[in-house]
Amino acid sequence: MRCVTSRWLGGKARVVIALSVVVTVTHATRRTPKASKTTSVFKKAVMAVSGIILVLYLIAHVIGNLKAFSGAESFNSYSGWIRTVGNPALPGATALWVIRIVLLVAVIAHIWAAVSLWRQAKRARPERYVTKKAVAQNYASRTMRWGGVIILAFIIYHILDLTTGTVNPEGFDSTPYDRLVASFQNPFVTAFYAISVILLGMHLRHGIWSATQTLGQSNRRREKTVSAFAFAFATLITAGFLLVPLSVLFGLID
């Protein structure tokens, strides 16, 4: 009796043959979804889906930023529109807060999955190699974790600077356009922004490829296309985000 089985350690086939004559498909006894769903792959899926939500936001964000090129009035009124979008059907800044809550949940889910998988990886190899050569990894895939930490630190600063104005030289009493200009006229702020956005670009370059794999949408034929798309998309987003602060720094926007 031959059966399809895994060729296995020592070249000795381990053949598992059910004793029953009829093939019975037994479903595993159900455990609570929480306990069984939090496998490493499920965490990866959470990471991928929350990542996609954040990427969609980034696309909207980078397009909005480019409003800075059409002058203070246009930029400020755009900023005001975001706060009143949906009015009068939705009162006040309802739509804005819905977006903020969705983003916050996505960020928390993304970080939860990342930290959990990071810790799992640490536990999986407590003793490091004396000599280890990387063959396939690139700068993008190597900087996912620490790059992510830096991006998070940047986002916190970014909100305190431009949304709340807490750490902005113009303070929270100013218009969004004034805050933007005041902030990026400082070369250190622009440098921090540039580094973070480049790290974000690399995060996207590996993240888009990785999410495609994690959600089971990649295959040998698509691999090259997915990689090329991830690279092009990441470059475009990074360039878009760099445009405004660099223009402020070099006096094209003032």
Binding site: S6, T39, A124, V135, A136, N219
Partner: protein
């Protein structure tokens, strides 16, 4: 060694072509002992020797000197059993994409220094020196890497037709020998490529369909239980795999797992 002999016969005045090497090998007395890298000089190694034959020469010397020989795993020495994996200069199975037994000393230069370490992963504890316990892989297979078939007379060969493309892809995945190079090379010490190869191999065959959902959830649950890391799709595994199992299998596993969870399959506790 034949080449060395022939060349010295052909050119009596020519100097010996043997290689002199410095080996730095991980020595660890037992599972709980503390290990360290120990340096050995080895001379007159033929470039036509396999890596394991070079280690055999070293061990013969160590035995003659009354030292403890280096423990390393090996079995078939023809690249199909998967026993002989070690980390060579930071790469699983060394600089060629093959098994350690099929790696030849011509891949190195005279005077080279070679670092040899065991696979390092919580799920692969060191037994001694370079030998590790890979039974975690057996338990992943036991969790679902099989099909249940009715016993009785052998079915006709054409009783269950399989599309050619599927059988080819299944066979590509089935070439996995469970050597553990994927785990060893992975920055996260994840066994994803191994499990993905098994899930792909069985999932593409009609015989693998009845247990397909349970297989993937149980194998992944076991992989997590064994203490392997999670996959971050970096691709070190596939680059190190002596059988060239592709990253595509990992995408297929993820696809199967998410589908199985949606269909309500849950791992056995």
């Amino acid at each position: 060694m034949t080449a060395t002999m022939q060349s010295s016969v052909g050119n009596p005045g020519a100097e010996k072509r043997g290689m002199n090497l410095t080996l730095r090998i991980w020595r660890q007395q037992g599972p709980t002992a503390k290990g360290k890298m120990v340096t050995y000089k080895i001379t007159d190694i033929s470039p036509d020797m396999s890596f394991l034959e070079m280690l055999d020469v070293l061990n013969e010397q160590l035995i003659l000197q009354g030292d403890d020989p280096v423990a390393f795993d090996h079995d078939c020495r023809e690249g199909i059993c998967g026993m002989c994996g070690v980390m060579i200069n930071g790469q699983a199975h060394g600089p060629q994409q093959t098994t350690t037994c099929q790696l030849h000393m011509r891949s190195f230069k005279d005077g080279d220094s070679i670092d040899i370490e065991p696979w390092r992963a919580t799920a692969f504890p060191v037994i001694k020196d370079l030998a590790v316990d890979r039974r975690a892989f057996d338990r992943i297979i036991q969790a679902g890497g099989y099909i249940s078939v009715p016993t009785g007379t052998a079915p006709d060969a054409h009783a269950t037709p399989v599309p050619k493309a599927d059988s080819d892809a299944a066979f590509d995945a089935a070439t996995c020998i469970g050597c553990g190079a994927c785990v060893a090379a992975c920055p996260n010490a994840s066994s994803m490529l191994f499990t993905a190869a098994k899930v792909t191999h069985l999932g593409l065959m009609p015989q693998g369909q009845p247990e397909r959902n349970d297989r993937v959830v149980n194998m992944i649950a076991q992989q997590d239980r064994e203490g392997f890391g999670g996959c971050t799709n970096i691709g070190e595994c596939s680059a190190a795999c002596p059988k060239g199992i592709s990253m595509e299998t990992i995408s297929r596993l993820n696809h199967d797992l998410l589908g199985a969870l949606r269909a309500g399959a849950r791992p056995k506790s």
